[in-house]
């Protein structure tokens, strides 16, 4: 199971009245997410199949039997926030050059056409533009991080 899927399940538990959520798949094992008054905990147990190496080799792996703790985020996940997703596969850059100022910062306003970042693919730098008007609430990826198609890059509060 990929890290972003785990984050989504954690979010579901966080935002609802669900106290505990357990999901089992025969090919990767079991994950249990539970909520107490102070935090949300996720426990992952890999499948008990001797030669199965699925869990330890998921992309952006979470170590076997790890406990992922996520405190109720300072980010209040409002349901009207929009995700800006990667339209292509490549490497994410926040600025036009290594020593230059980033295109945008958290808290800044954007409007359609504003360049938000670069995704580099096959040695070509592709400028990614905003298509909506709003405020950048959170930048979800780090500079030079590889991104896949549809990976959420920015959280925007539309205006």
């Amino acid at each position: 199971m990929r890290a972003k899927e785990i984050r989504e399940f954690v979010k579901i538990v966080e935002e609802s009245n669900v106290g505990e959520l357990e999901i089992t798949r025969w090919w990767w094992g079991k994950i249990r997410i539970s909520k107490s008054s102070s935090h949300v905990t996720a426990m992952i147990s890999p499948a008990n199949i001797a030669e199965n190496t699925t869990i330890s080799q998921a992309s952006k792996p979470v170590a076997k039997n790890a406990v992922v703790e996520e405190t109720p985020a300072a980010q209040t996940e409002e349901s009207n926030l929009i995700e800006i997703k990667a339209p292509m596969v490549g490497t994410f850059y926040r600025a036009p050059a290594p020593d230059a100022e980033p295109y945008i910062k958290e808290g800044e306003n954007v409007s359609p056409g504003k360049v938000l970042c670069i995704i580099e693919a096959m040695k070509l730098m592709n400028e990614i533009e905003a298509e909506i008007k709003g405020k950048i609430v959170k930048i979800l990826v780090d500079n030079t991080q590889p991104v896949e198609y549809n990976q959420p890059l920015f959280l925007v509060e539309p205006s």
Binding site: W28, S59, V89, G90, M122, P146, Y149
Partner: protein, 452 residues
């Protein structure tokens, strides 16, 4: 040895390649379109990258996204599988220029063999028997008429850039020639953006026999023997077997020699297949060369005893083929049934959807290659192959009987499949006697309950 392979494919072949990589200690990168996020190949690879939405041209055929995915995961090579970009010389060239090893033959060989008229010419020069016909592209109807007068009716007009049965017209008499020539040209232009045509003698009841080859970068080429692929519907294979019940040892030796000569003529250096048409007297003629691994490769793996994907990867890593393989002989008999999610009684209408119950047969001499599982949802965007069921026996009869009970044990519910059709074919008297050709399914009765 290659260190990390990105598999530019999906479904059962992606899983097949991952298995070979695990045995060779090579890391794997799976790529997937959005609907394939829960695919087995995604779960069993070391890493996975989403490369696009459902439509193939935006995902599995999206070269920039594929190359990008290889770059961000530091994959040193790409295995194209079959279909998709497996025979795209353009893709192979781009891989090369990005320093990514394309697991297949050199790009110029893909181009040459992809041009049907050129391939025929190349084989002829290597001394491989070819179907009598035009010497390359036929420019106009006058030239066509001259050729037809030489080789005699019936003839078939084919698109040079074509395949899959399109841009083809059979002509039985002089009155039909004009229309057929023009119709084939138009169809070729619209399907392949290339209206070039060539003409060949047409065989009424041929068998489709192909030779599996393996070549390395050091000039060695071996043949893994023939596969009998005459059970086809609209040029799509349904059942394949090895050896062919119609090929004698004498013909086999001639075919192996011819195929190896043909491959040597283009310095072939990967896994590939040369297809022949064989007439009723045992004479065979070159049809085309497929410069990729094929769906039915497990049939040859069973009778020859090697792992074709591993060998392909080793060859791509610049290793030499094991000399000993030149002396292997075919052992026993193997058959493959392609189980598609289609309803034969409704003109093979695709049957995507959720598999509500899935049980795979097992036991001695039974192999199942599948990416499906219980509760798997077959997407509607890609081909309908759900599983390949292959059996091996000490002789043809044992392989067939084994296949019959294995088909009985194979439970796939929630979608229609071709399982009942396979049973019917295997129980057919002519098939059992080995007495069939590519016309076998033409007048077959497909009206019975599609397996649900």
């Amino acid at each position: 040895m290659l260190k990390k392979i990105l598999i530019a494919n999906r479904g059962e072949i992606a899983l097949r390649i991952i298995r070979a990589c695990k045995e060779l200690n090579i890391e794997t990168v799976a790529v997937y379109s959005e609907p394939d996020a829960d695919s087995l190949h995604v779960h069993f690879a070391n890493e996975a990258v989403c490369i696009g939405p459902a439509p193939s041209h935006l995902s599995y055929l999206n070269i920039p996204h594929l190359i990008s995915a290889a770059e961000i995961t530091n994959a040193d090579s790409i295995h194209p599988g079959y279909g998709f970009l497996a025979e795209s010389a353009h893709f192979a060239e781009i891989c090369e220029s990005c320093n990514i090893k394309f697991i297949g033959p050199d790009p110029h060989v893909i181009t040459k063999m992809g041009d049907k008229a050129f391939a025929k010419d190349s084989m002829k020069k290597a001394g491989v028997p070819v179907i009598p016909g035009s010497d390359g592209v036929v420019k106009d109807i006058t030239t066509a008429l001259k050729i037809v007068q030489e080789i005699g009716y019936p003839v078939i007009i084919k698109a040079s850039a074509g395949g899959g049965g399109r841009g083809m017209r059979v002509v039985h008499s002089p009155e039909e020639l004009d229309n057929a020539f023009n119709a084939a040209g138009s169809e070729a232009e619209s399907a392949f953006k290339n209206s070039s045509l060539y003409i060949e003698k047409y065989f009424e009841n041929p068998r489709h026999i192909e030779i599996q080859l393996l070549g390395d970068n050091h000039g060695n080429i071996i043949s893994l023997g023939e596969r009998e692929c005459s059970i086809q519907r609209k040029h799509q294979k349904l059942i394949e077997e090895s050896p062919s019940p119609a090929v004698t040892q004498e013909v086999r030796n001639k075919m192996n020699t011819a195929a190896i000569k043909g491959a040597q003529g283009v310095n072939y250096n990967s896994a590939g297949t040369i297809e022949f048409l064989m007439d009723e007297t045992g004479y065979f003629y070159f049809m085309e060369m497929n410069t990729r691994i094929q769906v039915e490769h497990p049939v040859s793996e069973f009778v020859f005893g090697i792992d074709l994907i591993k060998e392909q990867i080793k060859v791509a890593s610049n290793e030499k083929l094991d000399e000993k393989m030149k002396n292997y002989k075919l052992r026993g008999h193997a058959i493959e049934c392609r189980i598609n999610a289609e309803d034969p009684s409704k003109d093979f209408r695709p049957s995507p959807g959720k598999i509500t119950s899935f049980h795979v047969p097992g036991g001695l001499g039974v192999r199942v290659d599948t990416h499906a599982y219980d509760q798997y949802v077959i997407p509607s965007y890609y081909d309908s192959l759900v599983a390949k069921l292959i059996t091996h026996g000490k002789d043809r009869e044992e392989a067939i009987v084994r296949m019959l009970w294995a088909l009985d044990e194979f439970i796939i519910e929630g979608v229609s499949t071709t399982i009942p059709l396979h049973k019917k074919i295997l129980n057919n008297e002519n098939f059992r006697n080995g007495d069939f050709n590519t016309k076998f399914l033409e007048n077959f009765d497909f009206n019975f309950e599609g397996g649900k």
